[in-house]
C-alpha cells in the first residue's frame, strides 16, 4: 500500500515537472537576467504559434511584390541584424535611413526602433510591412494573400485552433518567434555561471568596461535601453535627430536607443546610421570624437581616456559577448522543407 503511494507521488512529481518544464521550454533566460518587460500572460508561448511566427518571419509574402522578408534585413547569422549595410534597404532596392537593428532579448525592451517609435513588440511588424521603402505593403494586403494559401490555413489552424487569419494572430505569432530569440550563452555568460574563466586580458577589459561603459550598457543585457546622445556629429545627408522626431522635445535631439553590446562581431557596422565598420573606430569615437552639445549624455561629459593597450583589452572583453550558439541556432533559422520531412 505504502509502496503504491510512493509510486503515485513519484508519478505525480514527474507529471508536474513535465508541466513546469513545458512552461519554460521556449523561454528560459539565466537567473541573473532581470524580469522580462513583455507580458507573456497576454500571449503565452506555444510551439505552434512560434512555428507560425518563424514561417512568417522568413516569408517574403509580407512585402508588396513578395521580394522582402523580415530576414532580408534581420539575418539569423548576423544575430538578426544586417551585416555590411550601413543603412537598411528594402523593396525596389530602396534605401532606408537607419541601420537595421539586431533582434535578440526583445522581451526586455519597452520600445522598439532606434527612436522608440514603436511602443510594443506586438505592434512592431506593422511598421516595416507598411513602410514604402521596406516592404511597401499593408496588413490588409498581407491578410488577403495569406488567405489564399493552403499551408497558412493549416499553420493558423494549428496555432489558434481556428484558421481565420487576423491582424492580431499574425502579430502575436511574429512576437512569439521573436521572443524566443534569447541570446544568453556567450563566454561572458559561461563565466557568469562559473563554467569558464576570463583570460587576464579579458579581465582587464571587463574592468575598463565597468569603469567607462557600464552605466548605459548595463549588464547583463548590455543596454539600459534608454535614449542617449552619444556625441555623434550629425550626418547632414540624413539630418536624423532620433528621438526628437517622435517626441518633438528639444531635450531629445540627437538621442537614440542604447544598443546592446552582445554579438558585436555579427552585427557590424555600428551606430544608428552604420557609420563605423570596426570596434576600433567605435572606441576611438568615445575617446576622441565626442561632439559636445546640450543633449549629450551626462555620462560622456568627462572624456574617456584609454591607452592603446587598454583599447585592445576592452575589445577582447567585448568579444566575450559574442554568442555563437545564438547566431547559429537551428531553431531560429529558416525551416527547410527537407528538414520538415525528416522530423
Amino acid at each position: 500500500m505504502r509502496k503504491n503511494v510512493i509510486i503515485l507521488c513519484l508519478f505525480a512529481f514527474m507529471m508536474l515537472s513535465f508541466v513546469l518544464v513545458k512552461d519554460n521550454y521556449f523561454f528560459n533566460p539565466p537567473d541573473y537576467f532581470p524580469k522580462p518587460f513583455y507580458d507573456f500572460q497576454q500571449n503565452p508561448l506555444d510551439s505552434n504559434k512560434i512555428e507560425l511566427g518563424r514561417t512568417l518571419f522568413y516569408d517574403p509574402i509580407l512585402s508588396a511584390d513578395n521580394s522582402i522578408s523580415c530576414a532580408s534585413c534581420h539575418s539569423p547569422f548576423n544575430a538578426f541584424a544586417h551585416t555590411d549595410h550601413d543603412l537598411s534597404h528594402g523593396i525596389f532596392d530602396s534605401i532606408g535611413n537607419r541601420n537595421a537593428t539586431a533582434l535578440f532579448n526583445l522581451a526586455w525592451q519597452k520600445s522598439f526602433m532606434w527612436d522608440g517609435a514603436i511602443n510594443h513588440l506586438d505592434m512592431q511588424a506593422l511598421a516595416p510591412i507598411s513602410h514604402p521603402s521596406e516592404m511597401g505593403s499593408s496588413i490588409n494586403e498581407v491578410i488577403n494573400k495569406l488567405n489564399e494559401s493552403k499551408a497558412y490555413e493549416e499553420l493558423f489552424s494549428n496555432a489558434f485552433q481556428d484558421s481565420t487569419i487576423s491582424t492580431a494572430k499574425i502579430l502575436k505569432a511574429l512576437s512569439q518567434f521573436q521572443l524566443t530569440l534569447v541570446s544568453a550563452n556567450a563566454k561572458y555568460d559561461r563565466v557568469k555561471m562559473g563554467k569558464e574563466a576570463f583570460t587576464e586580458q579579458e579581465k582587464n577589459g571587463y574592468q575598463i568596461f565597468k569603469n567607462n561603459c557600464a552605466s548605459c550598457h548595463t549588464e547583463p543585457l548590455f543596454s539600459n535601453y534608454n535614449f542617449e546622445n552619444n556625441g555623434l556629429p550629425l550626418d547632414p545627408t540624413l539630418n536624423d535627430l532620433g528621438r526628437f522626431v517622435i517626441t518633438q522635445n528639444e531635450n531629445d535631439k540627437g538621442k537614440f536607443k542604447v544598443p546592446s553590446l552582445r554579438n558585436l562581431s555579427f552585427t557590424y557596422p555600428y551606430m544608428h546610421d552604420g557609420r563605423f565598420m570596426t570596434l576600433q573606430e567605435v572606441i576611438n569615437h568615445y575617446t576622441s570624437g565626442i561632439e559636445h552639445s546640450t543633449t549629450l549624455s551626462s555620462q560622456l561629459n568627462e572624456s574617456i581616456e584609454l591607452s592603446s593597450n587598454e583599447k585592445v583589452d576592452l575589445i577582447s572583453f567585448l568579444l566575450t559577448l559574442n554568442d555563437k550558439d545564438f547566431a547559429f541556432n537551428k531553431k531560429h533559422q529558416f525551416k527547410k522543407i527537407v528538414d520538415q520531412a525528416k522530423e
Binding site: 507580458d39 497576454q42 500571449n43 517609435a117 514603436i118 511602443n119 510594443h120 513588440l121 506586438d122 505592434m123 506593422l126 511598421a127 510591412i129 507598411s130 513602410h131 496588413i139 490588409n140 491578410i143 487576423s166 491582424t167 492580431a168 502579430l171 502575436k172 517622435i246 518633438q248
Partner: protein, 219 residues
C-alpha cells in the same frame, strides 16, 4: 386559438427583449442632414466633399442623477461613416439614465497594451504603423479652400502621450440620441491653413480641443 398563443408569446418575447437593452445612437451629421460621403455640398464659401469619417468612442459610462448606473463592457467603439450599423451601441441590460460620459479616442493604457481584435484592429485604418498609436478621429475629403494637391484635406487626430494627448472627454445629458455635428469643424478651423494634420503634434491637440462640442444630444 393556437395562433393567438403563438402571437402572444412572440409579442411577449419582443417586449421583454426591448426592455432588456439600452441602445444609443451616434449619428454623423452635416448641417442637420445625415452625413453623405462623397457628395458635394456647399458650406459658406466652400465647396466640400467628405470622403471618410471615423471616430473612436471609449469608456462609455451611463449616469442617472449623477451616479453611475452602467459602464459599457466594450473597450472602444469605432464609428465609421461607411457602415451605418456602427452608429449604434447596444448594452445588454436595461437601466434608466439621463447622462452619458465617454472619451473621444482610445485611452493611453490601451495605446501601449499591444494588439487587440475587433474595433481596435489596426486593419481598420485607425492606427499609425510608423509611430505606435491610434488615430482617435479621422476626417478626410476635398475642400475648394484647401491649397493642397487636388484640394485634399486630411485630419488624422491622434496622440496619447503628453504634451500631445488628444483624448477628449464628453459628458452629455441625453436620452441616447446623439448627433455629431461635423460642419462645426469647418466653421472653427481655417482649412486654407490647417489641411494636413497626420501626427501627434500641436495642431492635432488644437483640433482635439474642438471635438467635444461636436457631440450634441438631439433632445
Amino acid at each position: 386559438m393556437k395562433l393567438y398563443v403563438l402571437f402572444g408569446m412572440l409579442f411577449m418575447t419582443f417586449q421583454s427583449h426591448s426592455q432588456n437593452v439600452v441602445k444609443i445612437t451616434f449619428l454623423p451629421k452635416f448641417e442637420g442632414e445625415n452625413l453623405a460621403l462623397n457628395k458635394v455640398c456647399y458650406f459658406k464659401n466652400d465647396t466640400l466633399n467628405i470622403s471618410n469619417f471615423k471616430c473612436y468612442i471609449s469608456n462609455l459610462t451611463y449616469y442617472n442623477n449623477d451616479s453611475i448606473v452602467h459602464s459599457s463592457i466594450k473597450k472602444a467603439h469605432l464609428i465609421d461613416a461607411t457602415d451605418s450599423s456602427s452608429f449604434f451601441i447596444l448594452e445588454n441590460k436595461f437601466f434608466k439614465y439621463d447622462e452619458i460620459r465617454f472619451n473621444i479616442g482610445v485611452d493611453s493604457l490601451t495605446n501601449v497594451s499591444g494588439i487587440f481584435e475587433g474595433d481596435l484592429d489596426p486593419a481598420n485604418g485607425m492606427y499609425w504603423t510608423w509611430q505606435s498609436g491610434y488615430i482617435n478621429f479621422k476626417l478626410e475629403g476635398i475642400s475648394s479652400l484647401c491649397p493642397a494637391r487636388k484640394n485634399k484635406f486630411y485630419w488624422h487626430i491622434g496622440g496619447y502621450s503628453p504634451p500631445f494627448n488628444t483624448l477628449r472627454q464628453v459628458a452629455l445629458k441625453t436620452n441616447g440620441k446623439i448627433s455629431i455635428q461635423l460642419e462645426q469643424l469647418f466653421e472653427e478651423i481655417d482649412i486654407s491653413v490647417e489641411y494636413q494634420v497626420m501626427s501627434p503634434n500641436h495642431n492635432a491637440v488644437q483640433i482635439a480641443d474642438k471635438l467635444p462640442s461636436l457631440f450634441k444630444s438631439n433632445q
